[in-house]
């Protein structure tokens, strides 16, 4: 088992932890963090799997992940603005449909 595959498996674990947090929490900010963890896990799998199959550095998945990180930051910023607007309007930090 090489370094690349270990981190790909680590990414799989991070994905699982992200999904766990996303289901567990009501709080929107916590859910956003969980979603970011899921994203980081996906990036690790993408690069780790490609490089373990190749046995060396592969620039194409690395470039894709670089693009992905920038898009993830933009999405996080937009989500934070949606969360703030929701909190301003409803005075709550979680969605209402779930509590009975």
């Amino acid at each position: 088992m090489n370094t690349y595959l270990i981190f790909a498996l680590g990414g799989a674990g991070l994905c699982g932890i992200g999904l766990f947090g996303f289901i567990l929490h009501d709080d929107l900010l916590r859910r956003l963090i969980a979603f970011n963890l899921l994203g980081s896990g996906t990036f690790l799998i993408l690069v780790g799997l490609a490089q373990s199959g190749r046995g060396g550095v592969d620039a194409v998945p690395q470039a894709l992940v670089l693009t992905g990180i920038v898009v993830a930051v933009a999405a996080t910023a937009l989500t934070l603005m949606l969360i703030r607007r929701w909190t301003q309007l409803s005075q709550q930090s979680h969605l209402t449909e779930e509590d009975e």
């Binding site: 009501d26 916590r30 693009t67 920038v70 933009a74 909190t87 930090s93």
Partner: protein, 305 residues
Amino acid sequence: MIDLLLVCGLWSLALTTLLTPNAFRALVFFILLGLLLTLVWIRLDAPDIALAEAALGTGITGVLLLDTLKQQPQHALLCVHRTRIFWAVFSGLSLTLALSWALLQAPAMPIALDQTLTAQLDASGVSHPITAVLLNFRAYDTLLEIGVLLLALFAGQGLHERQHPLEQLSGAQLHNPFLRASLALWLPGMLLLATYLLWAGAHQPGGAFQAGAVLAAAFILMHLCGLALDAQVSQHLLRIGVLVGFVLFLVVASSSMLAGQTLLTYPSAWAGELILLIELALTFSIGLILFSLFTLNHQMRKESA
């Protein structure tokens, strides 16, 4: 061995982030996790991603999250139903197991993209393979990426009801003499670092995104110190600056169609110069877009307060 330790560290930090009752502590652990991820990327021989993770994934995201946290109503971890905990654990574990099984069963790759890349690298105009992929071979991704950043910014502006549009960038934010004094020392260094990252991107790790993130960090610090131009001037400059990267990229990309070639074909004699020009505009735009996303967020807190 060190890899196993790093993976265990990642997992335990991720779990701590999610299970800590205090939201501020959760954010600090999340930022720590980003720093650990930076080390992981270095172990994966990906220094470009490590730079981006440190600057964007940890730095800018951390600032945005911390700024939002101050505004959110605080409440402790809710008592969650037992069925919900069960489903959370069950789906997390099954996703991990399914992904691990798929990873261990992965078939050999039929296409050797990296060999094609090495063979074609000389034609790209730059000698660093990742910059070649980002700005030449897969430049379409990068064009759409800056488009996505712009889209996020416009959507944010749509969400935001501005009563005083011209006051957005003016006014001291933090009265901290230490921050002001140290910024005077850091700012030239940060600008120099951004320029170096941009220039180095042609032949070694670095490039427009990392440089743009450093630039955004410099702008955010300046904003927090209350250093700003005249509000009306900076509004106009901001609008132009945000658009210049995308517009210039689009113009260069489509100008090849006049000569009857497909979108995004550079004339091979000038490829290096054109890439540098696009990267320069991209760095500037990315810095300003990330900064605007921060100020929009920051402004929303002031209104609700």
